[in-house]
């Protein structure tokens, strides 16, 4: 792998607005949402369920557009005035919640997919590079298995290697470890950090797991309940590189506690909102 270039991958979000549904009956999923992510930063986003975090991530990835505001990547306009939707490209790769490895390709073929379809590498060279990256990530031995034959923890790691294979400047992780048990998760976290220390790619990571957020992130952005906007930005002043000893430190516990309070408040709001909507929905149904 080439030397990390943390000069790339700075994201700047200004006054982002995203409305779901039609204009008249639309629900604002994201509103006046502004924050920056520095190049090479691990930025954790936490917030109540359904608050619009994924919507924001998808807008960065270019899966859908914004109704207002702008997103810049390294000073280049991704989406905003004149460009309602960011172009989809290998510089921003999403790793999805339940994993999206192609079941019909072996793990190795999955990892090699990007450079092959981009025509950047020949099939043989791509497979070779993929093999090297997988070995580096400690994934030797499962290359020729199909994802269906692979444990969920290994699948997530393969998927992140597949993303890195495209040499992205931003990695967009949407609760990638949600379905994993806590023991597997802790292994995943160290593996992710290990990869991060080698690549220093900007990571935007959505999670509901506050301990995960503090353990991994340079910064935690706590979102309000719908519409989604930053409620609190928390610097995690625990130096990188980190290992699992961090979780026993006092500072770690303090930060988790601080985050929990802010999140809990929003979670209550989101819950009330959900109850209200359910009651209204019930009335319409009846």
């Amino acid at each position: 792998m080439t030397a990390p270039s943390p000069a790339r991958g700075a994201i700047c979000i200004r006054d982002a607005v995203k409305i779901h549904g039609t204009d008249s009956a639309g629900v604002a999923a994201v509103e006046s949402c502004s924050f920056d992510v520095a190049a090479g930063e691990i930025c954790m986003i936490v917030g109540p369920s359904g608050c619009g975090k994924t919507t924001l991530l998808n807008a960065i990835a270019g899966f859908h557009g914004l109704e207002g505001g702008s997103i810049h990547l390294d000073g280049r306009l991704l989406c905003g005035p004149g460009q309602p939707k960011a172009p989809i490209g290998p510089d921003r790769i999403v790793v999805f919640q339940n994993g999206a490895l192609f079941p019909w390709k072996t793990n190795l073929e999955n990892v090699a997919f990007g450079p092959i379809v981009q025509g950047r590498l020949g099939r043989k060279a791509a497979l070779e590079k993929a093999r090297g990256l997988m070995a580096e990530a400690g994934l030797r031995g499962c290359e020729d298995n199909y994802p269906g034959e692979t444990s969920s923890g290994v699948r997530r790691r393969v998927e992140i290697v597949r993303a890195l294979m495209n040499e992205p400047v931003v990695l967009l992780l949407d609760e990638p470890y949600r379905a994993l048990d806590s023991l597997t998760k802790s292994v995943m976290h160290e593996a992710l950090l290990d990869m991060y220390y080698r690549n220093r790619v900007t990571i935007i990571f959505i999670t509901h797991d506050l301990e995960e957020a503090i353990f991994l992130g340079h910064r935690v952005v706590i979102m309000t309940s719908r519409p989604c906007r930053p409620k609190k930005l928390l610097e995690v002043d625990i130096p990188h590189p980190r290992d699992y000893a961090v979780v026993t430190s006092r500072r770690y516990r303090e930060l988790v506690h601080e985050t929990a309070e802010a999140v809990h408040e929003e979670a209550l709001k989101a819950f009330d909102l959900g109850e209200r909507e359910a009651a209204e929905g019930g009335r319409f149904a009846a």
Binding site: P103, W104, V117
Partner: protein, 284 residues
């Protein structure tokens, strides 16, 4: 099961010719099932001898013994095998056409809203028409009887193929397309490397159901079209009909079982093809 019994079974299998799989749990169960059917059938068809009165339904059926006797004689008759070959050939023709046209047509309808908007209403109107209802029209439309039969068989499998392909393509996980797109896959690449393999299992389901329908249709079409010289007419359907007209009842049963065997063989062939074409499915 211990090693000793396994090896003695293996020895027995080597000594007498025993098909592979007979000693497995499933093989033994299948063997028992066939035996039970044969015994019930034999008892039922000879009920007049041991009961004094015919049992309903089964009492009128030729006995398995007589069927086997007739079958043994037919095995040396080339015209019996010709019937097999003709039906097989027709199934193969109509079925291949249905797969070759049904898959692209289904994919087109699933991926292109304009094509779907135009084709679906017509497709949905034609689909409920049973293939056999097309027989008279097909005889009028097509210049040869063979083409009429083939087109009716084609329709039998075509609808099933299209429905399955459309269903499979519409169930495609959007994330796969998004991931492939962000990794720089072109439309063609996404189609070839994502949509096609994702739909493959549905194609196989369609083929398995479709080939069953194909056998139903070919037999009925052959009964209607009747015999003829050379390549025209004939087939297992005509074989059954001819046996009925000629009054050889055991031969009707021979024809029926032949179709059963032919049908299961073709389904088995498709099932055997699946792990070759879609090796990842056995990993689930």
């Amino acid at each position: 099961m211990t090693d000793v019994s396994l090896s003695s079974q293996a020895a027995a299998a080597r000594f007498f010719w025993v098909p592979k799989g007979v000693f497995t749990e499933g093989g033994r169960r299948a063997l028992i099932a066939y035996l039970v059917v044969l015994i019930v059938w034999q008892l039922g068809s000879t009920s007049e001898d041991w009961l004094g009165t015919k049992l309903p339904v089964l009492g009128n059926v030729p006995s398995p013994a007589s069927v086997i006797r007739v079958w043994a004689a037919l095995i040396h008759d080339p015209s019996y095998w010709m019937s097999w070959a003709m039906s097989m050939l027709r199934v193969l023709e109509g079925f291949s056409a249905a797969v070759l046209l049904g898959v692209p047509f289904g994919l087109l309808m699933a991926t292109n809203p304009v094509a779907r908007g135009i084709c679906l209403p017509v497709f949905e109107l034609l689909r409920p028409i049973p293939p056999l209802a097309w027989v008279p029209a097909a005889i009028i439309f097509w210049p040869t009887q063979e083409l009429s039969i083939a087109s009716v068989i084609f329709l039998g499998a075509f609808y099933t193929m299209v429905i399955n392909v459309v269903g499979g393509a519409r169930a495609l996980d959007a994330r796969f397309v998004q991931v492939a797109g962000s990794m720089g896959g072109s439309r063609w690449n996404i189609f070839r490397r994502i949509v096609l393999p994702a739909v493959l299992p549905s194609i196989f389901v369609g083929m398995e159901v479709g080939i069953g329908i194909t056998w139903e249709v070919v037999v009925a079409a052959e009964m209607i079209s009747g015999g003829g010289g050379g390549r025209a007419g004939g087939g297992l359907g005509f074989f059954i009909w001819n046996s009925y007209v000629g009054g050889s009842y055991p031969q009707i049963i021979v024809g029926m079982i032949s179709i059963g065997i032919a049908g299961s063989l073709s389904s088995a062939a498709i099932r055997a093809l699946e792990p070759v074409c879609a090796p990842w499915l056995k990993a689930r």
